[in-house]
Symmetry: D2
Subunit: 381 residues, 4 copies
Amino acid sequence: MDIGVWLVGARGSVATTVVTGAAALRAGLAAPVGCVTAGPDFAEAGLPPIDRLVFGGHDISSTPLPKKAEELTRGGVIPAPLAELVRHDLEAADAEIRPGIESTRSDENRTQAAIAHSLISDITDFRERRGLTRVIVVHVASTEPPVAPHPAHDDLGALTAALGEPGEVLPPSSLYAYAALSAGCPYIDFTPSTGAWLPALDELARDRGVPYAGRDAKTGETLLKTALAPMFATRALAVRSWSGTNLLGGGDGATLADPAAGQSKKISKDRALPAILGHPVEGQTHIDHVAHLGDWKTAWDHITFEGFLGVRMSMQFTWQGCDSALAAPLVLDLARLMALAHERGQAGAVSELGFFFKDPVASDEHRLQAQYDRLREWARS
Amino acid sequence: MDIGVWLVGARGSVATTVVTGAAALRAGLAAPVGCVTAGPDFAEAGLPPIDRLVFGGHDISSTPLPKKAEELTRGGVIPAPLAELVRHDLEAADAEIRPGIESTRSDENRTQAAIAHSLISDITDFRERRGLTRVIVVHVASTEPPVAPHPAHDDLGALTAALGEPGEVLPPSSLYAYAALSAGCPYIDFTPSTGAWLPALDELARDRGVPYAGRDAKTGETLLKTALAPMFATRALAVRSWSGTNLLGGGDGATLADPAAGQSKKISKDRALPAILGHPVEGQTHIDHVAHLGDWKTAWDHITFEGFLGVRMSMQFTWQGCDSALAAPLVLDLARLMALAHERGQAGAVSELGFFFKDPVASDEHRLQAQYDRLREWARS
Amino acid sequence: MDIGVWLVGARGSVATTVVTGAAALRAGLAAPVGCVTAGPDFAEAGLPPIDRLVFGGHDISSTPLPKKAEELTRGGVIPAPLAELVRHDLEAADAEIRPGIESTRSDENRTQAAIAHSLISDITDFRERRGLTRVIVVHVASTEPPVAPHPAHDDLGALTAALGEPGEVLPPSSLYAYAALSAGCPYIDFTPSTGAWLPALDELARDRGVPYAGRDAKTGETLLKTALAPMFATRALAVRSWSGTNLLGGGDGATLADPAAGQSKKISKDRALPAILGHPVEGQTHIDHVAHLGDWKTAWDHITFEGFLGVRMSMQFTWQGCDSALAAPLVLDLARLMALAHERGQAGAVSELGFFFKDPVASDEHRLQAQYDRLREWARS
Amino acid sequence: MDIGVWLVGARGSVATTVVTGAAALRAGLAAPVGCVTAGPDFAEAGLPPIDRLVFGGHDISSTPLPKKAEELTRGGVIPAPLAELVRHDLEAADAEIRPGIESTRSDENRTQAAIAHSLISDITDFRERRGLTRVIVVHVASTEPPVAPHPAHDDLGALTAALGEPGEVLPPSSLYAYAALSAGCPYIDFTPSTGAWLPALDELARDRGVPYAGRDAKTGETLLKTALAPMFATRALAVRSWSGTNLLGGGDGATLADPAAGQSKKISKDRALPAILGHPVEGQTHIDHVAHLGDWKTAWDHITFEGFLGVRMSMQFTWQGCDSALAAPLVLDLARLMALAHERGQAGAVSELGFFFKDPVASDEHRLQAQYDRLREWARS
């Protein structure tokens, strides 16, 4: 009756917070603050309880989870005695972590099919060894640059053939998605990386009867955009510019300071506004790495809008959050919800989970409340 | 086929912007920015067109509308040549303004029944002289302090008797509401004043088959609260404090700097948060008069919240708006919607208009998007 | 050669941070960040080194310093292992803490002269027992309300006589100041409480040849005001309004939420602006208690100003600081500087320390840079 | 006794505001708000009065000043009736505007020496025709990209030779500076363009006994940096990051959105912080064009700093100003001060005017108050 959660990037900040938090909840050491599915709207949905989640994953880092949890404690992400109190759970999860793929490009002696085979074995071994009803794979590793188009991306047959040849057809996130779906496991794109977001992988998901969801969890600026932009829209206030600056510390900030990876994030972040407002809006979105912020992030958004008779007005907001603490409970939510989707036999893109994502699969709905209403209805149905 | 809009406070900033704006829209000199009911969601609702609205009202001021519009032009509320271009319309509306009641207390030689009788005559004369299908009365005069309880407030019979005696039973806003409803006119509480918000007046509205709505239009801080608080709620983030400072220039700021009137506004402003979040939240709301802001207002809100594992985070926003430009299009919306409610035979409190108000009559729903959805459904039904 | 620092409020957050920090500096566990006198401008001034400071004090609380330091560690004020590493120093200082006066009003069986006598003994015992060259008394206890005027406040003879009678002539902070000065110890008003700020106590200080300084250390909003207002002044930009909201957690916030104590703080905070700008400025200053902020404080200030040809502009800032961490290094600075003043034989108000205070004694200079220049010159002289 | 002010970019927003404002001051229609030299500190300095300033200049635009002033009136930079009231002065100045050089590169049939000769004639004709004691040349045209190094930039002899050859040795701003200095006129770099900022032009200035000053007037974010950074420095608070986003409307924003020109501005903006703090500071500075802001600009800066015991704190500010209204009075100040420098026989870089500039010539002093003190002393001397 246990459900596996296989984290790609299992020794990163988000994953460590997920494992620590799930253990803390199980032990009654913390309340499920930030867990959407802990609310009364989801009480009857038949979701697997958080204390039945079992963790494993892939990572290229060899820093053990307990050590990573200590770092996060010093950084203020995990409250002081907690990592020590759940050390056993961290060690248990750490024992289920297998080496990730550093880069699909570097493994020159193996085809991507062979690499995928190895990833699949890691996941299915975990499922069998731990006697899990199902395993949900969640990609929480560093953001990749946008992928270059390749003809094999559009067709599953062509993809299968190409993976058997030398060379790199899929970026790492998509190879993980390929492995997960091939293993019959639901897959979640928690980052803006390509992941399952290719026609050939969508075909694979539908073929295997496996659901996938994504992408790029919204935990700050975009979350606010999708809460605020509908206000301007329903009030018929004409938004004329929306400018944003995101200051990110930590590893995420360093990754996104790379213009290529930052590009993936910006594409993902820029979807919501025109979709909600119905027209393009002037303004740039900056993503800066500010190491001194540590695990914290700060977003400042400045909005100008026109009111009655053309009067110009403005608003601005500053969001100061801890990225891992905002993300971790959503990983738990998504694992539970995708377990339900899998149990229900839903295959392919799960558009009903758009509430969680900046760039939701198979959905043009970006308005936060409307996404929530749809999620709630789906869970209840 | 024309509809009357009778503005209590007809020479104030909001009313002047309403009349100027309606004339500008009619003449094709402005787009209906900020008019909720100009959107496609309301195209089929059968609302009276804005260019069929005819304006009149009560005011204690004798400054003519064209002169007031010049002031607002200097203040940047009305764009430079517009007031001149619609001068004829301003003069026409000004000719329909009758002296308001300075204070119900000062008219010592007349009972409140007699005063009400005179107000009723002003409104019905307007309706007949201009051949109006119906007249919507909108209270946009200065905010009054909370009213002291009186036994006659709870029962229409007792109220009718009491009004015939010397003394003051109703505050001015409620006497206007009494007059409007008695004249068979829909009444809108656009401010936090008591207005129709008394059991005896609710009884009167239902007796006469007349709808009323209110109260206190949300155009800034509270609008944002009702857009943002649901985000925290659906994301299960635990809001721990919400502090706000409102800096208001102009006449509104001066009125609300008076602690008694400010109290009405604060009561009204403080309803939304606990209703949306389901628990009380620490934090004060300040309303300061800052004369130098002129017709503008600035609200700063600071929110602290707890995320996963108790991590403390915060957000803050600053809203910089022009009060009259935010309010005026909503007056037009409400007049149109209440004309529809009246035409449909709706009597008593119209709970479906909560989208517009800080303290909506007959409704506990404060979430902005949910209020909008309800409004849209009602208009379409 | 050691110097004593006698802290009134020795078990409060500021004092605990002072003692912990001084020990950390002595042990090489921390750098003197925030210590003004650690900079090169003061290297030649002959100040006593921080590692020769010995701590004691009065407090009405009985929570030992090591326990208080643990609380501050949980609150993020003191970094995680530090309190443990300097536990010995905390215990040593705790052993030098004597019971403070709860309220001068409650000690009904003793005159204030008798109470003062006991306070003096505590301080002189400390000085002799520890073989200290001198002892600097620093008031860091909770803010008191403004004191009611009393004829004995204006004359030392009258004061001496009045203290010998039953009743309350001096508020606690002033009784501590009286005791310190009587014991020949320099006294520092670190809070807005009355302290030495009475003509009779000024006379006492000059009589005894003892210096005093104050009052109300500037560590946030006022610090920024005195850095920013000179910019507007020298640029001839006409500041028209300056509004501020201070959100304070912790004990300080709770104290200042009391209108009487808050009044002392507001009086102190409101001195700088008109002094720097040369004219009164519209705008209010709010002090709110927000418990969820813990040891942190947030100040938001909004400034409107007029530029060339009357164009209206604005700026706003938000300051998010940890109160005790901002205050503690200044206590060390002031102790060192007052030791120097004492050594130099300076008696009465030391106007050259205005750099540290919201409401500097014997000085109308509030411009931060000018205050710094004056401080540096004085230290070098 | 009249003093000429020759504006390069004479039909731009800043120049138009300068001419309008000077006329308004002369006519008593406005107070000298924003004029530093109108204050009592400069009353005895012997500066030429503003009403003795006579305007002319170069521009590549042919839009007459009265028309440009109307645009600025619609944009809210110039109050409504003023442009009309001083129309005569605008026309008089417009009559003194000569065609500017579009690009030094495009004039292929003429050497730069020939172009310079023509510019010199324009300026000396103005001086003689109007009987001016002296003419101050102020560069307020669009920002240029950083200039590519050229050997002739380092030596006046080499420069003179090179200008006589075909090809482009100097960028436009420097050719204007060359012309001004050759004509014996003081020159002011009001923008970050190269202007007089070349060794060969410095030599020319000293040879001719003419002063020059610059560069890049500080009117927003950098002004604030130089007011705030000294606060952190004197308080020994360790600034760890300083990030800034500048949203600029209008022509200036469009120019600076070009990465090459923006680079000049960023170089200039980034000088102050490390100079004041004594160490480099993490953080980026963004300059975005937001057309909807019109003549306004908004800067948001976010600063993280470390306090006692390494506690991390932050502050942020938002500056919302009208660029031309902030710049124009400084042009008047600089014209007056440079007239004084010229009268006193000061030659070469005038380091005492650093108070006005982001990147002051011949000075490492960036602290605003220290710059002001130095300016005041110089003016009085």
